[in-house]
């Protein structure tokens, strides 16, 4: 039997110690399901430049305060780190430029808020999304 190589041990250790999460999923209230969403629109929504849907009323943003899901989602959707995103919204909210996102510690609470709030959009680990919300995909 071949001895286990040092490289294999490192890979195993990395798998054990790396937090496991699936890709972030964009979730929205079911009344948002019919909205057209491309990458530019998604960015405009999360940066507070687009504040109303075409048919689903006012946009209400729901974000996770921190964590790998937030980092990955915001890097992709808003092209910002969580820290830069928070600073962007602090600037807007404190200077009369926008209404800050609702922020949540737990994904379940965020999903519940989105499910109950018309116009709401947020993100969670895809494993957390369920039938209470619409899962949106970004058009190419």
């Amino acid at each position: 039997m071949k001895p286990i190589s040092f490289r294999c041990v490192l890979v195993l250790l990395a798998l054990i110690t790396t937090p496991v999460f699936a890709a972030p999923a964009i979730i929205a209230n079911k009344n948002v399901a019919g909205e057209k969403l491309d990458a530019a629109t998604l960015k405009a929504v999360f940066l507070g430049k687009k504040i109303a849907w075409d048919k689903a009323g006012r946009v209400t943003l729901a974000v996770l305060k921190a964590g790998p899901v937030a980092e990955e989602f915001l890097k992709g959707a808003a092209e910002m780190s969580v820290s830069a995103f928070n600073n962007h919204w602090r600037r807007l909210a404190m200077t009369g430029g926008g209404t800050a996102p609702k922020s949540f510690e737990k994904e379940d609470e965020l999903r519940k808020f989105v499910a109950e709030t018309p116009g709401a959009i947020g993100f969670v680990d895809s494993a957390t999304a369920d039938a209470s919300v619409a899962v949106l995909t970004v058009a190419p």
Binding site: I51, R58, E79, A93, M94, T95, G96, G97, G98
Partner: protein, 404 residues
């Protein structure tokens, strides 16, 4: 002014930080930003200590002072799909400026028709450069003082907002990114109690205590921000002017009569760029400030050109969850210096180094040092006395801010 204290500056600010930290714990429960409420409440309280070696700058602080604080509380809510209303009260003390008087900082009704077009009416934050609208947001940067060549805190009470209206919007430019625009017009109420008065008072034209009447007819301008396709890079062009700026007071050379400074148009043109990549934030801005003043005395009227070049470059790096460091070099240059005037009086070159520590989500502590060569924009007035201006000034500031 409170110049005597049994606690050294650092100790008092740390003590204030700890109290703020405890308050922050309460605030988390009291301010329901994450709830279903349609009303948002936010705010900040900052307390600092500053001591200078050299000249009193940016306000009276040579003996060290705790008269360095600010607070703001804002409330906003949404009405329907497109309307948002809100406002903020603000109070500040910077040496002998501000006196902790509570003032309406901004108050707007904002109707956003669509992404490309909205209207904001009321008392609106003044868009100038990268940070003109967010002067007070300690939490978003490592610096206690933004580069004073463009963001002098003494004039914050005058140029942070205007009463009027603004058109704004965001236009998608496809692969070229997007463009934010703002176009505004309004009035700026000014009075001799404000810090801006000392820019008149330090000219030597006015008898003590200085200018007794200040007026600006109106202000207008615009801003274009290009959110480039390069991730994290934006560039900004800002232009604005003050129309019909007047400062009147007793003439120092003949105090029974008045002297007046008047300009039809005082212009600010600012080019800015900011690049955020990973843990780094780089910024650079250049600004030209220009106006032609009539100096009206009992003995006749003369013309005085004012032309100043301001610029800075800055870099900041977040080290980890708790610490961020930053540095900048900031320069003001009088481009219309009087022949024979000492060169140090026509420039102000400032090296700054800052450290920010985040005690928790709500409380930060900052430490900052400055080394300045030159005396341009350093006052000798009743509120900021410098009977003999020295060519070099160093100062250290420490500040803690609670935001919620």
């Amino acid at each position: 002014m409170n110049k005597n204290s049994s606690l050294p500056g650092l100790g008092r600010v740390v003590l204030v930080s700890l109290i703020c930290g405890a308050l922050a714990g309460l605030a988390r429960g009291a301010i329901p930003l994450g709830s279903n409420s349609n009303v948002q409440i936010g705010g900040f309280i900052g307390q600092g200590y500053i001591v200078t070696d050299g000249n009193n700058y940016p306000f009276e602080d040579k003996d060290g002072t705790f008269d360095f604080r600010e607070m703001g509380v804002n409330v906003s809510t949404t009405v329907g799909d497109h309307l948002r209303i809100g406002g903020q009260l603000f109070a500040q003390r910077l040496g002998n400026y501000g006196e902790d008087k509570v003032k309406l900082d901004w108050a707007v009704a904002d109707y956003n028709f669509r992404q490309e077009f909205g209207i904001r009416l009321g008392r609106v934050k003044y868009p100038k450069g990268l940070y003109g609208e967010s002067l007070d947001l300690d939490a978003v940067r490592p610096f206690i003082f933004l580069p004073m060549s463009l963001y002098n805190p003494v004039v914050r009470d005058f140029n942070s907002a205007f009463n009027g209206g603004m058109f704004y919007g965001n236009v998608n430019a496809g692969k070229a990114g997007s463009v934010d625009y703002k176009i505004f017009y309004g009035a700026i109420p000014v009075n001799p109690d404000q810090g801006v008065a000392d820019f008149f008072n330090t000219t030597g034209l006015y008898a003590s205590p200085g200018v007794t009447y200040l007026h600006i007819d109106h202000t207008a301008g615009g801003q274009l921000q290009w959110n480039t396709p390069v991730n994290g890079l934006k560039t900004v062009l800002s232009y604005s002017y003050l129309n019909g700026l007047d400062g009147i007071g007793k003439f120092s050379a003949y105090p029974v009569a008045n002297v007046a400074l008047h300009t039809d148009r005082y212009e600010y043109t600012t080019l800015s760029a900011e690049y955020i990549r990973d843990q780094w934030t780089f910024a650079a801005e250049w600004q030209r400030v220009a106006g032609t003043f009539n100096v009206i005395t009992p003995f006749g009227t003369s013309i005085s050109e004012s032309k100043v070049s301001n610029w800075y470059v800055s870099a900041a790096r977040r080290l980890n969850d708790k610490f961020e460091v930053g540095a900048y070099y900031s320069s003001e240059e009088n481009d219309n210096a009087s022949p024979g005037s000492p060169s140090g009086g026509n420039h102000n070159r400032d090296w700054a180094l800052s450290l920010k520590y985040e005690l928790n989500e709500h409380v930060i502590i900052k430490l900052e040092g400055h080394s300045i060569n030159g005396t341009y924009d350093m006052f000798n007035t009743v509120r900021t006395p410098n009977s003999v201006l020295k060519n070099h000034t160093d100062y250290v500031a420490i500040k803690t801010t609670l935001s919620f």
